[in-house]
Subunit: 404 residues, 2 copies
DNA sequence: ATTTTTTACTCAAGTAACTTGAATTAAATA
DNA sequence: TATTTAATTCAAGTTACTTGAGTAAAAAAT
């Protein structure tokens, strides 16, 4: 299969700057600062962003004109003229995220703060491209009208799908990717169908970005998200930006080997993590032991009943996950590793509780302020919200990496 | 294991731009383009960098004035007025890199193209800070005078040391880090002692940057370097920049577990890669089998003699390395993984030849243009050269991440 | 109660570095 | 030899920044 990855490598040069691009950059810098430190006055912003007060004043005037910032009273209590404070107006614009799976499309509409304004999902008749396009269009249109938003303030749509793209061995193994979408420029197709800016990303990365915007990863600039989806994915955020790797396929943690000579996986390896710690592996383990379970609800029920079979699966899964998380820590040195996805939250909690992380890890430090592993906050909404969050992130966050 | 929500404060703000910073950025953009595509004319540069010809003309005038670019004849053969081509002048400036190990300091002086102009190493009487500072100062001064360079064109010095930093469990295990250097701001100490800009980096990352500037990774923007040093490290380059992780300790591949329940490692884990695939592990394996070997030369000699014991160590090491490289591929999706370091090159070659990489990897693609694993080119000079290369990289490469 | 200090902000002028469009140059081709 | 094509320069225009002087207003000092 030759899937044209939308994130394929291009031979590009880094682009130069000019006054106009500079202003665009500075707008983002100011917006990003206010969002993180609101309310904030001009002088404070100028000091933090390395700009003159006058420059900030001009930029704020333009942001206020666009409705992205609003004045919000004066700061009293300090010496000197009271600063006129500005706040970010999170409802001035919105974005939409859609998570596509072979059988279902899930849609989230969020504001600029990452709050979910609308949620809906719809079953897909089949996994064909045309069917998906129609379902996505319907969902998106309904989301916008139901939430009473103006199309004018629509920043774009993030489409979230299981990866990896362009790797036949893994894609077909276990059907983690969507079949029959070969040679499709997914970004362009959806951009044309929806008439808006579109970003395509895999579920784990989108989930990570969602957690950073409005979940447990708020304030973290380097962390990883282990996403329980159809398979198992890892979203990697480093320096505040998603790491895609050379072909956009970074984070394929499901096929990392945690048991040399272990269970055979369809990808050709033996002992892949996905064979031990994924929804499919849980269902398989239970059915092999004669326990009926078809979906997440069944798993939750078994957990409530203290099913010994589920418990032994949890033990084994936690053992393999611990090993994999140790690898991730040692290779990527994240501030924390977050667990979440479409797995029921009590199951994730049970896994987190059973983890026994390796001592020999760069993350095993005395001076930690947060736990090495955290549970994700947004449940099954995470990935779709993450798609939307990516659009917001792109709009607000400056892409320059110069720090003061 | 506790789960807690996080709300970390924002330490740094991204800085705004102005005309002056813009020019500085554009100078780097142009320099970076010419270095990668020389010789190049103004119009060509302008098209690629998204700038007007006039802007490029002005920037080139200034770069030429500073001696960083030189005109180099006209491009003939095409229609239209022949472009005046410019070349990068690699000998207009230089930088120095020093690799520090507990017993030795190695010094490389390179030009802007990454060519090694001077090399010298000196034994360290002990591993104390004062001893290291003196040795480094002497080495650096001798390097500059011996290569006949002007101090004025000295861009800075890269200090390379084994990591990780600040992780007691791993640092003290096997003595991979330098003892007694706790709580020292190494960068500041050396910057004051040498009177120049200083960067401190671990050996694996430095080696990776060196390979990118003047080795087998030329032209690659995302790749990893497995470095055989005192222990085993991984340098990660993504998007052309080194990935350090949250605490600068990313790439600690030596303590990734490749054999569940395997050999006990001093870090507290069992089955660490470093126990199977490192110089120390080879020497230990040989001595346990009654074969005398004390250093790299002995290993090379045993390889030439087709030592069966060494051969069986190679087989086992390659097996574990293959597994680890598979992990790295799946987690980071690099364009290639490079092997090198202070291990003798024939040994590295033998290891590469014995690798049996997992099929289930995102790197196992039909359309590959380079091998999944490459052997590093610069031998034991790599890390010191990498330190120097990091300084050059910082001077030349723009840190903005906007592509055309 | 008044003055002084301190800080935030605005106005107007000045400046750096970009873009644009017209003019110039020179090789390749007709 | 004339024409086409493309690179480069010149001069003018534009954007968005900085600087410095001036104004405003609250807190602190008198």
């Amino acid at each position: 299969m030759t899937v044209e990855s939308t994130m394929a490598k291009r031979h590009t040069s880094i682009i130069g700057g000019n006054a106009c691009r500079n202003r665009s950059h500075n707008r983002r810098v100011v917006l990003d600062f206010v969002r993180a430190n609101e309310p904030a006055g001009r002088a404070e912003i100028a000091r933090s962003c390395g700009l003159s007060v006058q420059a900030v004043s001009n930029i704020i005037e333009s942001l206020e004109h666009d409705g992205l910032l609003q004045a919000d009273g004066h700061r009293l209590g300090a010496r000197g003229k009271p600063a006129l404070q500005y706040r970010f107006d999170p409802d001035r614009a919105f974005s939409v995220g859609v998570e596509l799976r072979p059988d279902v499309a899930m849609c989230a509409l969020i504001n600029l703060s990452g709050e979910m304004i609308f949620w809906e999902q719809s079953e897909l008749a089949d996994a064909s491209l045309s069917c998906a396009i129609e379902a996505v269009s319907n969902l998106v249109n309904r989301a916008i009208s139901a939430s009473g938003r103006d199309q004018k303030s629509w920043l774009g749509t993030g489409i979230v799908m299981p990866g990896p793209f362009g790797v036949s061995e893994i894609s077909f193994a276990g059907g983690t990717s969507l079949p029959g979408w070969d040679n499709v420029d997914i970004r362009r197709v959806f951009s044309e169908a929806l008439g808006c800016e579109v970003i395509v990303e895999n579920d784990a990365t989108a989930a990570a970005i969602s957690e950073r915007m409005s979940g447990v990863a708020r304030g973290l600039d380097s962390f990883c998200f282990v996403y329980f989806g159809t398979g198992l994915g890892l979203g990697v955020i480093s320096g505040g930006h998603a790491q895609g790797g050379a072909m956009g396929n970074a984070g394929e943690i499901g096929h990392v080997i945690t048991a040399s000579g272990g269970l055979s996986c369809a990808c050709g390896n033996r002992g892949c993590l996905e064979m031990y710690a994924s929804r499919a592996s849980a269902l398989r383990y239970l059915s092999d032991s004669g326990v009926a379970a078809a979906n997440g609800n069944d798993l939750s029920a078994l957990l409530r009943e203290n099913s010994p079979v589920l418990s032994s699966w949890l033990d084994r899964a936690a053992e393999h996950l611990s090993r994999a998380i140790g690898m991730v820590e040692n290779l990527l040195d994240p501030e924390a590793v977050i667990l979440g996805g479409v797995m029921p939250e009590p199951i994730v909690a049970a896994l987190v509780a059973r983890l026994d992380l390796p001592r020999g890890s760069v993350s095993n430090r005395k001076d930690r302020t947060i736990a090495r592993v955290l549970q994700g906050s947004s449940g099954r909404h995470t990935a779709a919200m993450g798609g939307a969050a990516m659009i917001v992130h792109q709009t607000i966050t400056p892409s320059i990496t110069v720090y003061s």
